[in-house]
C-alpha cells in the first residue's frame, strides 16, 4: 500500500469510518460549496468615508504610512514627493499593471524601470487588488502586472489601492477573488500585507525591515 493510501486508511480507521461515506462526502462537499463565513467582526462593517478612515487608522497602527490622492493622475507626483521627503533616490520599479502604466510618470523626474525585482531595487510600486478596513491589510495578487518580488525585495514599497476596492473584511476580498478566478480557483499567490517587515527575535524588541521592506507607504486613490 502506498504511503498515501495507508495514511488515509489510518485516518478512516481512527475515525471509525466504515463502508458508505455518502453522508460524510455530502457534508464535505456542502462545506466546500457554501464556504460559510463564520464570525465576521462588526468593526469593519462600515461604508463610505468611515470605511476609508478605518482602513487608514488600522494601516497606520501597523506602522504603514498612508496618503490619499483624488485621481490616479496624482499618484506619480505623490510618490515623487514621498521619495524626496525621505531622502530616497528618484528611482522606481514596477510591473506591467495597466492602471500604473496609464499614470503620467513623465510629469515627474522619477526614473522608472519595469519588471520583477532581482534584489537591487530600492523603491517599488505595486497596485493592490484590494484592501481590508478591518485590519488595514492590503491584498496583492501575483502576475506580470504586479510581480511578487516587488512586495518583498525593495527597501521601500509603495502600494496604490483604489478606494472602491477597500472592503470591510477578508471575506469580501475572497468573493472578489472567486469572481475573478472562478470558484475554487486562485492566482498563484495572494499576499496580505499589513505594515512593513519586522522582527522581534532579538530580545523581543520590535525592529523594522527584517527581510522585506523597511517602509510600507500606501496611496489611496479616491476616484
Amino acid at each position: 500500500m502506498s504511503a498515501r493510501d495507508e495514511i488515509l486508511a489510518g485516518i478512516r480507521r481512527s475515525l471509525g469510518v466504515k463502508g458508505n461515506e455518502t453522508i460524510r462526502r455530502q457534508i464535505v462537499q456542502d462545506r466546500l460549496e457554501r464556504a460559510p463565513k463564520g464570525v465576521v467582526p462588526a468593526r469593519g462593517q462600515v461604508s463610505g468615508e468611515e470605511r476609508i478612515a478605518l482602513f487608514r487608522t488600522m494601516a497606520e497602527s501597523s506602522l504603514a504610512t498612508v496618503t490619499e490622492v483624488g485621481t490616479p493622475a496624482e499618484v506619480p507626483q505623490s510618490i515623487a514627493l514621498f521619495l524626496r521627503d525621505h531622502n530616497l533616490p528618484a528611482t522606481l520599479r514596477m510591473g506591467g499593471d495597466p492602471r500604473l502604466k496609464a499614470m503620467p510618470w513623465s510629469e515627474t523626474a522619477l526614473e522608472i524601470s519595469q519588471g520583477p525585482s532581482e534584489g537591487q531595487d530600492l523603491n517599488a510600486v505595486s497596485h493592490a487588488f484590494g484592501g481590508v478596513a478591518e485590519t488595514g491589510t492590503l491584498a496583492m495578487i501575483s502576475g506580470p502586472e504586479n510581480p511578487s518580488t516587488l512586495n518583498f525585495l525593495p527597501d521601500n514599497h509603495i502600494i496604490v489601492v483604489s478606494a472602491k476596492d477597500i472592503a470591510s473584511d477578508y471575506e469580501s476580498v475572497w468573493s472578489r477573488v472567486r469572481f475573478a478566478f472562478g470558484k475554487g480557483g486562485m492566482p498563484r499567490t495572494v499576499n496580505w500585507i499589513t505594515g512593513p517587515s519586522r522582527s522581534g527575535d532579538i530580545e523581543q524588541t520590535l525592529l523594522l525591515g527584517a527581510h522585506g521592506p523597511r517602509r510600507l507607504h500606501v496611496i489611496v486613490v479616491r476616484e
Binding site: 518580488t149 499589513t194 527575535d201
Partner: protein, 477 residues
C-alpha cells in the same frame, strides 16, 4: 524518533535552566512582552471569544473529515500544477525532500521557519547529504548558528540575549570587518539582512512550512512578520511545502477565521505582516515565482491520535500563547522540555510523538493552573490532556514508586474515615506541639522537596473535625 531528545532528563535540564542567569534574564522578555499584548488585542475585538469558538469548531469539523479534505486538497494542488507527496513518518519525509532537492540540482536550500521541519530533523539530513540548508527567520538563523533547537515555537531564540547573538555573528560572519559596531539590536538585524539577502538570491530550493492548507483551492498559507518565508518561496526555482496532515482547513473563509485568532494570540498583532496564500507553481506569463511546487504531507503519528482523547491536540495552530502564559515555561524556558515542542502544548504533544516513556515528565511538570487553556485560541483543554497522560503513566506503572506509595498510603486513610480521624488527630497534635514556638519548620522528614525552598507552616494542633465534634457535639457523625 527523529531528533535527539533530552526529555527524560527534564529535571536536570530544569535545574540547569534555573541556575542560568543569562537565560533567566531572557525569559523575563517572555513574561513582559507577549501577555499584555495578547490581552490588549483580545480586548480590542469584541468578537474574540466567539472567534475562538469558531476556530475550535472549524478544526473539529476538519479533523472529523480529514481523509476527505486531504483528498480534496490533493486534487486541487495537482490541478494547479503542483505535486503532493505523502510521508508516513520522518524518514519518508526526509527522503522525499532529498530527492526533490537532488532533482533540482540543489546545493543550497533556504528555509522558512517550520516546526515540522524541526520535528523531522531535515537540516542535519540535508547537510549529511551535501546540501546546505539556511534558516532565514532571524531567530531560526541565530539558533542554527548555535546548533540549537528552537526554545519557543514562534520566537525560537527567545532564550538568548543580544550580546550572545553578537558573539555568534562575529564568530560566523568572518568576512566582515572585525571592528564593526554590533552593540545595538538594529545593527545585528541589518547584518543578518545583508548576509541572508545573498543566500535568498542564490538558493536553488526554498522550503517552508504551512500554517494552514486550504482544501477548497489547494492553497498553502504561511504567516510571517519578516517576509523571509516569501523570499524563501518566490526566489528559488523549486518551492517545497512541509506540512503535517492536521493543517487542513476546508475553505478560505475558514482560514480567515483562524487567522483572526492566530496573530492576536501569538504576538498581539491584529494580523501578521505577511499572510501568503500560495497555489501551485508560477503561471504562464508570470515574471517571478517558483517553477516547481511540491507539498509533502507528513503524518508522523497524527492519524493515530485521531479518535483518541488526544485528538483535541490536533487543533493546535502553533501560536505559542500557552507557553507565553505558563509559569513553568517562564521558570525553565523551552530547552528544558528536551525536544521540539516546549510548554503546555509540548507537554501534551511530545508524549504522543516520541512516547510517554521518554516524555513522561512533561505532562507531570505542570501546576494545572489552567492559564494555558484560558488563552488557547482553539480551546484545547491542555491540563485535561496532561492529566490523561498521567493516567496512562499510572496504568502502565510509569509513575515513580515514591509517588505511588505516598498516594496509596494517603488513600488507605482517606478511604477509612475513622482511622483517618485518629491518625490525623495524633499527627497534627504532635506537629502542632513541635511547631508551637517557631510556627514553622525549616526541615521536615519526608518533605525535603518542600522545605528546600520554603518553610513548612506548623499546624494549629487540633484538627477541625476533632474540634467540631467537641464543640458541636459531632454534627451528623
Amino acid at each position: 524518533m527523529t531528533v535527539h531528545t533530552t526529555s527524560p532528563q527534564f529535571k536536570q535540564n530544569a535545574a540547569r535552566a534555573l541556575h542560568d542567569p543569562q537565560l533567566q534574564k531572557a525569559l523575563n522578555n517572555v513574561k513582559q512582552g507577549f501577555i499584555d499584548k495578547r490581552q490588549a488585542a483580545a480586548d480590542k475585538l469584541p468578537e474574540f471569544e466567539a472567534l475562538r469558538d469558531s476556530a475550535r469548531d472549524i478544526k473539529n469539523h476538519t479533523l472529523e473529515h480529514l481523509d476527505l479534505y486531504l483528498e480534496a486538497y490533493e486534487q486541487k494542488v495537482k490541478a494547479s500544477g503542483g505535486h503532493v507527496h505523502f510521508a508516513r513518518n520522518a524518514d519518508e519525509a526526509r527522503e522525499i525532500i532529498l530527492s526533490i532537492c537532488r532533482e533540482a540540482g540543489a546545493r543550497t536550500v533556504t528555509k522558512g521557519k517550520s516546526m515540522i521541519s524541526e520535528e523531522i530533523g531535515i537540516n542535519h539530513y540535508l547537510e549529511a547529504n551535501g546540501i546546505k540548508p539556511v534558516e532565514t527567520d532571524l531567530g531560526e538563523y541565530i539558533i542554527q548558528l548555535r546548533n540549537e533547537l528552537p526554545s519557543h515555537i514562534i520566537a525560537p531564540a527567545v532564550h538568548l540575549n543580544a550580546t550572545q547573538v553578537e558573539q555568534d555573528f562575529r564568530r560566523v560572519h568572518t568576512h566582515l570587518d572585525a571592528k564593526r559596531d554590533l552593540s545595538e539590536p538594529v545593527q545585528l538585524l541589518t547584518e543578518a539582512r545583508a548576509v541572508l539577502r545573498e543566500r535568498f538570491l542564490a538558493a536553488d530550493v526554498g522550503i517552508t512550512g504551512a500554517n494552514f492548507l486550504v482544501a477548497e483551492t489547494g492553497t498553502s498559507i504561511i504567516v510571517t512578520n519578516e517576509g523571509n518565508g516569501d523570499l524563501t518561496q518566490i526566489l528559488p526555482r523549486t518551492h517545497i511545502v512541509l506540512a503535517s496532515i492536521e493543517k487542513l482547513v476546508p475553505t478560505l473563509e475558514d482560514a480567515s477565521q483562524l487567522l483572526r485568532v492566530l496573530a492576536r494570540s501569538a504576538t498581539g498583532q491584529e494580523m501578521s505582516v505577511y499572510t501568503t496564500f500560495s497555489t501551485g507553481p508560477r503561471r504562464s506569463g508570470d515574471a517571478d515565482g517558483p517553477e516547481n511546487y511540491h507539498v509533502v504531507l507528513i503524518d508522523n503519528g497524527r492519524s493515530a491520535m485521531l479518535g483518541t482523547s488526544f485528538e483535541e491536540m490536533l487543533r493546535c495552530i502553533r501560536c505559542g500563547a500557552c507557553m507565553n502564559h505558563c509559569p513553568v515555561y517562564h521558570a525553565v524556558g523551552g530547552h528544558a522540555y528536551g525536544w521540539v515542542y516546549p510548554g503546555p502544548m509540548g507537554a501534551v504533544l511530545t508524549p504522543s510523538l516520541i512516547g510517554v516513556d521518554k516524555a513522561g515528565h512533561l505532562p507531570n511538570a505542570s501546576t494545572f493552573c489552567g492559564r494555558c487553556e484560558s488563552v488557547c485560541p482553539v480551546r484545547i483543554p491542555l491540563p485535561k490532556l496532561m492529566r490523561h497522560w498521567r493516567e496512562r503513566e499510572f496504568e502502565r506503572h510509569l509513575t515513580p514508586a515514591s509517588v505511588r506509595s505516598g498516594l496509596s498510603l494517603w488513600s488507605f486513610f482517606a478511604k477509612r474515615p475513622a482511622l483517618y480521624r485518629l491518625a490525623t488527630r495524633a499527627a497534627m497534635a504532635t506537629l502542632g506541639f513541635a511547631g508551637r514556638r517557631r510556627g514553622r519548620f525549616s526541615w521536615l522528614p519526608l518533605a525535603k522537596g518542600w522545605t528546600k525552598h520554603r518553610d513548612f507552616p506548623a499546624p494549629q494542633g487540633e484538627t477541625f473535625q476533632a474540634r467540631w465534634q467537641r464543640e458541636r457535639k459531632g454534627g451528623t457523625a
